[in-house]
Each structure stands twice: as C-alpha cells, then as structure tokens.
C-alpha cells in the first residue's frame, strides 16, 4: 500500500522541465507565490482588524475554514473523476495483482496531499496572520497544523464516494466526455443534497435583523457561521476555544470523525471501484455497429480558417475540464462578482452605510478609469483558453505545424476563443462604468481599451504556452492542474495592473487617461502583431 501510494504520488508530480525553463518557472513561482502571500497577509490584517473593531475577529477564521472546505469540495469533483477513472495509469495498475482497497487508498491519499499546497496559501498564511494579530498562544498553531492536515479528508472522501457511485452506473456510456459531463452534473446535485443536510436546517434566514442581533454578541458572527455549517463545526470550535478543554474535545471529535469517514468510505468505494474503472476503460473502446453509408453531404467543404476554429471549439466543448475552466468559469465569475457587488451595496444601504458615495469620487478620477481596465484584466486572467491553447491538444499539436496554414494565422485562430469569451466581462464592466459616470464617450473608450487589452493579453498568453508547451500530459485535468504556465497569467496581470495604475496617475484627468491608455494599448497591439508575424517560426520552434 505504501509503495503504491508513493508511486502514484510521484507519477502525479509536475512535468519534467528543461533546466532553462525550470529556473524561469521556479522564479515565476516564487514571485507569484510571494505576491499572493503578501496579498493574503494584507487582506488578513485588514479583515481581522476591521472585524476586531466590532468584536467579531474570530469570524474571519471561520470564514477561512468554510472557504477552504468549499474549495476542496468543488475541486475534488474533477480530481476524483480524473484520478480514479480517467487516469492513464489505470491501464497499468488494473493489470497488476493490486487489491482495489490499496489502489483506492493510494489515489485518495494522492488527492488529499495535493490539496495542501492550496491550503498553505488560502488557510495557513491568513490564519497565522490572524494568530499574530490577536496574539494567540502556541496551542492555536498546533491545532491549526492538525486542521490543515485533516481538513481535506472528509470533503474528498464524500465527493469520491459520490463519484464512485455515479461511475458505477454511467460507465456503460461509450462517449467519455458524456460520462464526464453527466457525472459532474450529478455529483454537483448530489453534493448539494448532502451538504444541504449537513447545514443547520433549523437556522433562520440571514436577514438584516439576524445580522444586527449577532453583531452585538462577542464573536456572535462566528458562532452563527458554525451553527450553519455543522460538518465543520468541530474545527471551527477548536480554534475558537484553543485555550480550553472545549478546543481539545472538538479537535479529537473531528479527527476521529475524519478517520472513521475515511476508512468507511474507502471500504465502500473499494467494493464498487473496479467495475466502474474497468467499465470506463473497456467502454472507451468499441462496440461494433454498421455505420450508415457516407454520402457527399458528410464532406461539406469549408474554409480552412473556419474548419480550424471549429476544431478548436470542438476540443474545448468536448472536454469538460476545458469547457468549465475556459468558457463557463470566465463567464460565471464576472456575473457572480457583479451580483455580489450589487448585493453588498444594497445590504450596506440597508444598514445605513453608503459605500457608493465614497467610491464615486474615486471612480470619476483617472485612476478610477484605469482601475476599471485593471478589473477587466483581473477577469481575463481567469480565462485559461489561450494559455492552454497549444498544450490542450497534447502531442497532436505538433501535427499542426505540418499544415500548409501560415503559423501567424494559426496563432490568431488559437486566441480567438479566449478573445470572444472575454468580451462578456468587458461588456459587464463597461455597463457598470457607464452606470457610475453616465458618459458615453468614456464608456466607449473604456470598452475599446478593454477589447485591446483583451486581444493583447490573449496573444501574450499564447506566447507563453508556445514558449513552454506542455503537451506530454496524462489527462486533460492533470494538464490544467499542473500547468506551470498558468502562473505567468498572474504574473502578467500583476504587471498590467501596475502599469494601468501608473498611467492612470500620470494622466491626471479621466479624459487624458482614456486617450493615454488607448494609445498605449494600440501601440502594444501593433508591436505584438509585428513580433508574431516576423518571428512566427521561432515562436513555434519549441513545439516538436
């Protein structure tokens, strides 16, 4: 069991990089991680202090635990599906005399360990910052360490069980993408039901009156949160009561709970796993049927450009992880953010805090204009379609180079999906800006600026992908998850935001800012287009 676990862990590590790109990647990783860590620390300091002013500082820790729990839950749907059922190593492991229990154990441990990286950033850093500010004792950090280790186990176990049950009954479907889509949708629904039953059913709706009531009690908000999410109530109570026996009781309860859940679920999955896994592999092959006779209608002629773009779309839509990460999420994030902003503004108004009044002064300024462009860049960053445009094809991307289609044109076609998807957040941001400042001229120039930033950014992303194409992957999911290029998106975004802010400051007035930023963006686009046309052969050189 131990050997198998270590083999699976090693196998799931990132791709081998060349020494040159390894140094660059490590450097980018350090810069990006450092930047994210700083953001998390700053955010944690502000949140802890602000909540502390109203006697609710511990609510921050509860929110962190809840957020991490939700992230692990949602991520583990893809992870479990790909690790347990669509991983190529199954072709080897299923032929070996390995007990299903051992295989399931090894794969679950792999999934759990892979969450620690995210937890370090999203839970450890902010929780430690909270600890330093509130001057907690060493016991808090000890409990925190235990929580970090055990927190992903229950969500991963529950999701894995749900996936295993669904896969047991959907593996007869030959089309793998269909299986994935069905499983993901069913898993989300079932997970919703499970979590729904584990949240406090008796709790009242979180209204303005509830808010007013809990805010008056010391750490009332955190208690309110823990009452609503009973599944992680013990760990919430552990850190709140770290300095007394209740903390110890709660951590013991949660650890025991975790061990029991893990062992029980591992056992259940072991009994149904093989049929699901083998079914997926076998049904990935063929069932013999006679196809209808082909006619000339099956061979409609299209322009090479159209057929190329259609191929890109088909790959995107027929691969659930690509569709979700590259199309669905970039559309959902701006919509959800917009709804959240409106919600917060409304709620603030209800409790007599007029945030808009303060904000409007800043929005009307040149920095405000640049900030809206930067927000656009923030949303563009969440769109991965161009940064994986070559890598997503796997080794078949190499074949594209033998096509008699100009490489610069292929470059353009490959960024098209990203550019089109990004138009949605650009529209939302423009509408929001127009509603704030009511100037058609500024709204139109902002939209043009967002469009230019979008086109330029997508080209930069593809340049990164071509500089370091990651085409030797095992599954689409691992390619997405282990793609070191994605880090450069954040790095690029940081630089763009800084430049936008700087130009906004230099411009002085909004009118000048709109002109200056447009000129800079047009210049950037002209330069990048020249570079692509002139150096296309070198740009594609690493793809072989």
């Amino acid at each position: 069991m131990k050997t198998l676990t270590s083999v699976i862990l090693k196998n799931s590590k990132r791709q081998e990089l060349t020494s040159g790109s390894k140094i660059l990647t490590v450097l980018a990783f350090l810069i990006v991680s450092g930047f994210l860590a700083i953001i998390m620390i700053v955010f944690s300091v502000i949140a802890t202090k602000r909540l502390g002013e109203i006697g609710q500082s511990y609510a921050f820790v509860n929110m962190l635990l809840l957020m991490n729990f939700i992230i692990v839950f949602s991520e583990s749907i893809f992870h479990a599906l790909n690790t347990l059922y669509f991983s190529k190593d199954l072709n080897t492991f299923l032929r070996l005399p390995i007990k299903p229990k051992d295989l399931v154990h090894a794969k679950m441990v792999d999934m759990i360990i892979s969450q620690y990286e995210m937890e370090a950033l999203m839970l450890a850093i902010p929780a430690i910052t909270y600890g330093v500010i509130t001057q907690v004792s060493g016991l808090f950090y000890l409990y925190l360490l235990i929580i970090l280790l055990v927190l992903p186990i229950i969500p991963i176990s529950i999701t894995t069980l749900i996936i295993a049950i669904i896969m047991r009954f959907t593996n007869f479907i030959k089309n793998k993408s269909k299986v994935m889509y069905i499983t993901i949708i069913l898993a989300i629904l079932l997970l919703g039901v499970v979590l729904g039953n584990f949240t406090g059913g008796e709790t009242e709706e979180f209204s303005v009156s509830t808010f007013e009531r809990v805010i008056l009690q010391a750490n009332g908000l955190s208690r309110e949160i823990s009452e609503r999410f009973v599944l992680i109530k013990p760990i919430m109570n552990t850190l709140l009561n770290y300095n007394n026996v209740i903390g110890l009781q709660n951590i013991l309860v949660y650890v025991v709970e975790t061990i029991v859940v893990f062992i029980a679920i591992r056992y259940i999955i072991s009994t149904i796993y093989l049929k699901g896994a083998i079914g997926t592999i076998v049904n990935g092959q063929k069932d013999r049927k006679v196809m209808e006779k082909l006619t000339v209608k099956d061979f409609k002629k299209k322009l090479a450009s159209k057929t190329y773009i259609l191929k890109e779309l088909k790959v995107m839509f027929r691969t659930p992880i690509f569709f979700i990460q590259c199309i669905l999420m970039p559309l959902i994030y701006p919509a959800v953010t917009m709804a959240a902003v409106i919600g917060i503004l409304n709620f603030a108004q209800k409790i007599n805090i007029n945030i808009m009044e303060t904000l409007m002064v800043n929005i009307r300024s040149s920095v405000g204009y640049a900030t809206f462009l930067a927000i656009g860049q923030g949303f563009y960053m969440l769109n991965f379609s161009s940064i994986i445009s070559v890598s997503k094809e796997g080794r078949s991307a190499i074949l594209l180079k033998s096509f008699p289609i100009d490489l610069a044109k292929q470059f353009k076609y490959k960024t098209l999906i990203g550019v089109v998807v990004n138009i949605f957040p650009a529209i939302i941001i423009t509408i929001a800006y127009y509603l704030c400042i009511k100037s058609i001229y500024l709204a139109v120039t902002l939209f043009l600026g967002l469009l230019l930033l979008n086109i330029f950014g997508e080209k930069c992303k593809l340049l990164v992908d071509l500089k370091n194409p990651q085409i030797k992957w095992e599954t689409e999911y691992t390619m997405m998850k282990q793609n070191t290029n994605v880090m450069y998106e954040l790095f690029y975004t940081i630089i763009v935001i800084m430049i936008m802010g700087l130009l906004g400051l230099i411009a002085g007035t909004t009118l000048y800012a709109s002109i200056l930023l447009l000129v800079v963006l047009i210049f950037a686009n002209v330069m990048i287009n020249k570079h692509i046309t002139k150096k296309k052969s070198q740009i594609f050189a690493k793809l072989y």
Partner: protein, 240 residues
C-alpha cells in the same frame, strides 16, 4: 522531389544531432531511411516537414524551400508521424474533413477516396466515432487515409507500418509502390530492414546524425562486402 542540402541541427548548443546531411530523393522512387534508435531519422523527417527548424542548410520540396516558402512546400507533401496522436476529441470523419479543408480537396473526391480506403483498411464503420476510442493501428490507418485523400506528390511517412495489421501493412506497401510508379516520391523511415529491402528503390543509412550511406540495397551490400541480408550489411556499416 525532396532535396536535403547541408542540413544540421542541434537541440543543445554545440551538440549536433544531425550533422551536415545531404541527399536527394528523386521522383518515381520509394526511398527508405534506416538507422539505429536515436540515429536522427525522426529528427530529419521533422525538419523536412517543417516541424523542427534547422540550424543550417535547406530542404526543398519540389523546389520550394521549407524555410523560405513553407506554405507552398507543405502543400506538396502528405505526412504520417511516428506516433499517431491526432485530435482525439474529433471523430474520424471530422478529422478527414479538417484535412480536406486544409488541403482544399473537393467533397466528391473526399467521398471517393475515403469510402474506398476506409473500407479496405477496415475502419469505415468507425469513422463517426471519436478518435479517442480508436486503437493505435486505427489511428495510423486514419492518418494514412488523410494523406492519400489530398493525394500529394510527396509522401513522407515516419515508421508507417508500426501498429498496422498484416492486411493493412500489405495494402500500404502496395500503395507506396504504386505512388512511386506513377512518378511520385515516397520517403519513409523504418527500423524493419526486411521492409526496406523489399520495397525501397534506394535507402539512406543514418547513424549518429550523419548519413553514412545513400544508394540501393545492392550497392550497400557491395560496400559492406556482405552478400547475404540487408540486416548483416546494416550491422556492418553501422559498426554494431
């Protein structure tokens, strides 16, 4: 005709994997390139097809340089790579249509060739399935059909017989001979010396990135002073 002129390539600076190779593949012949593993066969093919940039030299396909006039050069050949990894999310039919559109093949012509060859290769009933459900051999067959569909003058095939069943292998060898007989060029790499001996008009032996022999099998035997099999001559000339 494919002309390879003073071509060199080094992945790592100073370490040449292809060292100044020169040879010409005339029209009307089947030309095989043989060599031990890692000798540089696939690297040479990748440079001919424009997949890999060369450090020095030039490659001409029917007089068009793959470096200076890549689009025109690429229109003049069809390529089957050594690993049949093709867009797995497409169906076989969609892939053939992609190639048909890229090479501007008329629908009637596509139908005629696909119907004939897909039936002969035994993948007709699978054409509307996703390529991800195909076996290695089926993918190889699909790639071969896609090349034959746009009927280029020059065929460039990297280990084309690997993974093919005996019937398909026989069929492909027949097609290669027929294509050359019609005045076209067939350039392929193989490590199966029997195949090279049977169907090649000319061969090139590549070893450690250098071309150590170009000529007919008979000439190779004479040069290596062996009169038995190509295998023996090959081992002697490569010093293995």
């Amino acid at each position: 005709m494919i002309e390879i002129k003073n071509v060199s390539q080094s992945y790592v600076k100073g370490k040449k994997v292809i060292d100044n190779i020169n040879f010409t593949i005339e029209d009307g012949i089947v030309f095989g390139v043989i060599g031990p593993n890692g000798a540089g066969k696939t690297t040479t093919i990748n440079m001919i097809t424009g997949i890999l940039n060369m450090d020095e030299g030039d490659i001409l396909i029917d007089g068009k340089s793959i470096t200076d006039d890549p689009i025109e050069a690429k229109k003049r050949f069809g390529f089957v790579p050594d690993t049949p990894e093709i867009f797995e999310k497409l169906t076989g039919l969609e892939y053939l249509n992609l190639i048909g559109d890229v090479y501007e093949v008329k629908p009637e012509k596509r139908l005629e060739i696909v119907e004939k060859l897909a039936k002969e290769f035994g993948i007709y009933n699978d054409l509307k399935d996703r390529i991800q459900t195909y076996s290695h051999g089926m993918k190889q067959k699909l790639l071969i059909i896609s090349v034959l569909m746009h009927n280029p003058k020059n065929w460039i095939l990297d280990e084309p017989l690997t993974g093919l069943d005996p019937k398909a292998s026989y069929l492909l060898k027949q097609l290669m001979r027929k294509h050359a007989k019609n005045g076209n060029t067939v350039f392929f790499s193989t490590h199966v010396l029997d195949v090279a001996e049977k169907i090649c008009d000319k061969i090139a032996v590549i070893d450690k990135g250098r071309v150590i022999f170009v000529g007919t099998v008979k000439e190779l035997k004479e040069k290596s002073k062996t009169n038995t099999s190509l295998e023996e001559s090959f081992l002697k000339i490569t010093g293995e």
